[in-house]
């Protein structure tokens, strides 16, 4: 009995169809096919040179057509009958040309697609875009690292140290900002960081600052905003893992004379590895893929990679180029997942089971 027959046997016809058809639709139509189509798009471009040549050709033929039309009209004015051989041959020529133009027009509707790695080469050769891509990697790594360092003590305290009542209240304190809209969380920092924002006004009025600081001109604001927006995605997976750590292990280590740092390095952190890996992957992915934070907190000189992708789609009108950039971003995230698996020595399934 194959696995599928077994499924049918154990669940009945209706339920077996339900259990196979819907996931199949999701898997194929929503997940796999769109990704493949995006990769396909990134690998070809519309051959504009040929297209331009076609269009030139058409306009030339159009002129010719007008001339013919004129000629026919003139001859008719001169009183030539429609059956005159000269007029008939002109009329035929006119029809032929008209057909030809229509066929060429059809071709321009469907411009020739040329498969080549051109879209990727473009990114590699565009210095500005390359710099922005590297900046995105670097900043996302920084945000991930900062989030991990800040969140670990909080997660540990909540999972292992806090009394139950206090833990409940603190947990509530984590859920509320976590559930607030990402856009609003970012906006809160716009109010704090802008030139006439809270921080600048507060410190200049208190006499601690001579003049306001331009937080939003470069990348500072984006980094602060991203850390704030995505930090809690690090807390929860770490907390979940640390919660499963047996308190006795810590006590035993402590009784045997292990210091505070050693307990963390040898027991708690190794135990929390899958959680830390999931937190890092999620935070990195959100930071590298964010459009909202740089759009709100970034200055005119601090473009983000996602913003370039967006403009390929909606300002530049070059979806193929945009698809290539998008795939590069996706590839970066895949590399990061693999890197985390290596660093934290966890298997892919350890990660996906903790999402």
């Amino acid at each position: 009995m194959t696995q599928w027959q077994q499924l049918l046997f154990q669940n009945g016809k209706i339920m077996a169809v339900f259990m196979v058809a819907l996931p199949a639709f999701w898997l194929v139509i929503l997940i796999v096919a769109p990704q493949l189509m995006m990769i396909d798009f990134s690998l070809w471009y519309e051959d504009n040179v040929t297209l331009e040549r076609l269009e030139r050709d058409i306009s030339q033929k159009d002129h010719h057509l007008f001339d013919l039309d004129d000629k026919i009209a003139n001859l008719m004015d001169q009183g030539l009958s429609a059956a005159d051989p000269q007029l008939v041959s002109l009329e035929q020529e006119y029809q032929l040309l008209d057909q030809e133009i229509k066929q060429l027009m059809l071709k321009t509707d469907d411009p020739p697609e040329v498969y080549s790695p051109k879209n990727y080469v473009y990114l590699a050769h565009n210095q500005l875009h390359r710099t922005i891509f590297l900046k995105t990697i670097w900043s996302s790594l920084m945000v991930t690292l900062i989030a991990m360092v800040i969140c670990y003590p909080v997660a540990y305290y909540l999972a292992q140290v806090a009394p139950k009542r206090q833990a409940t209240i603190l947990f509530l304190g984590l859920i509320i900002p976590y559930w607030i809209n990402e856009i609003l969380r970012t906006f809160a920092w716009l109010m704090l960081l802008s030139y006439n924002g809270f921080i600048n006004l507060f410190f200049t009025r208190a006499g601690l600052l001579e003049e306001p600081i331009e937080f939003l001109d470069g990348n500072t604001g984006v980094l602060i905003g991203m850390t704030y927006a995505y930090i809690l995605f690090m807390v929860f997976p770490t907390y979940n893992l640390l919660q499963t750590l047996d308190r006795n292990q810590i006590d035993a280590a402590s009784d045997l004379g292990a210091g505070w740092i050693r307990i963390h390095l040898r027991i708690a952190i190794p135990h929390a590895k899958p959680g830390l890996a999931v937190g890092a992957i999620t935070t990195f992915m959100l930071a590298a893929g964010t459009y909202a934070v740089p759009a709100i907190l970034g200055g005119p000189h601090s473009l983000w990679f996602t913003q370039i992708i967006y403009s390929w789609f909606f300002d530049g009108g070059n979806w193929n180029q945009g698809a290539a950039y998008a795939f590069v971003l996706l590839f970066l995230c895949i590399i990061f997942v693999m890197l985390m698996m290596k660093i934290f020595r966890v298997r892919f399934n350890d990660i996906t089971r903790r999402v």
Partner: protein, 265 residues
Amino acid sequence: MNYSRLYAPLMKIYLLVFFCYLFLPLLLMAIAAFNTPTIPSVIPWQGFTLQWFTLLFQDRLIWESVLNSLIIGIGVVLLAVPIGLSAALLLTRLQSRSQPFLYAILVSPILTPGVILGISTLIFWSQAGIGGGLFLTVIGQTTFIASFSMLIFMAQLQRLDPELEEAALDLGASHLQTYMKVIFPYLKPTFITAACISFLQSFENYNTTLFVIGADTTLTVKIASMIRLGLTPEVNALSVIFLGVTVMAAVIYTLLQKQEDTDAV
């Protein structure tokens, strides 16, 4: 425990700073909703007002975007909950070596940047002549929200006692009856959780939506465009409402969670 005595005060300070960091920005954002100036600010304080709330409630465009968000949210729930349930059943019941691989692919949308999901959806459906709009937004969001829904159902299905099902079958129930009378009633609270989470995820989504919404707008997209072009304290008034609803929802969630814990004990 000597280490706890030594580090406890330090830890307290650390937590205090951390929670101030989490809450002060949100608090200032909310307070600015009641300040008079036309630019959202807390200092200087120029007098208490409720005019931003009045303006907000009169803003027709915002209510249209709320309506769109609701429609999309309901559409996503109607798709993501059945898909999540069916996939969870398949993965818990399929005895196959390909199961872990299938699981990995079905979870992968959660680990994929939202913009990528939006872009790939946009490209794929444009081939069928379907452009950005409410329908495509439902499709794009369902891609990853179904994964969350699946995980919620899987967690509950793994706790299902297989004997319940066997008993029903032994007593002569058909497979469909077993599902209808035993398994689905057992999953009833899970349906509610999955629907709520799916709806919230949809309502708050920005990165995927941005690419598939076309000329329409959702509340989240509307807020973002308000912040970038023509910022008024109306946004702050909205944030007060969001905060209020979130605090309430979080308190209810925590109380329910606590109840579940005491029930379990």
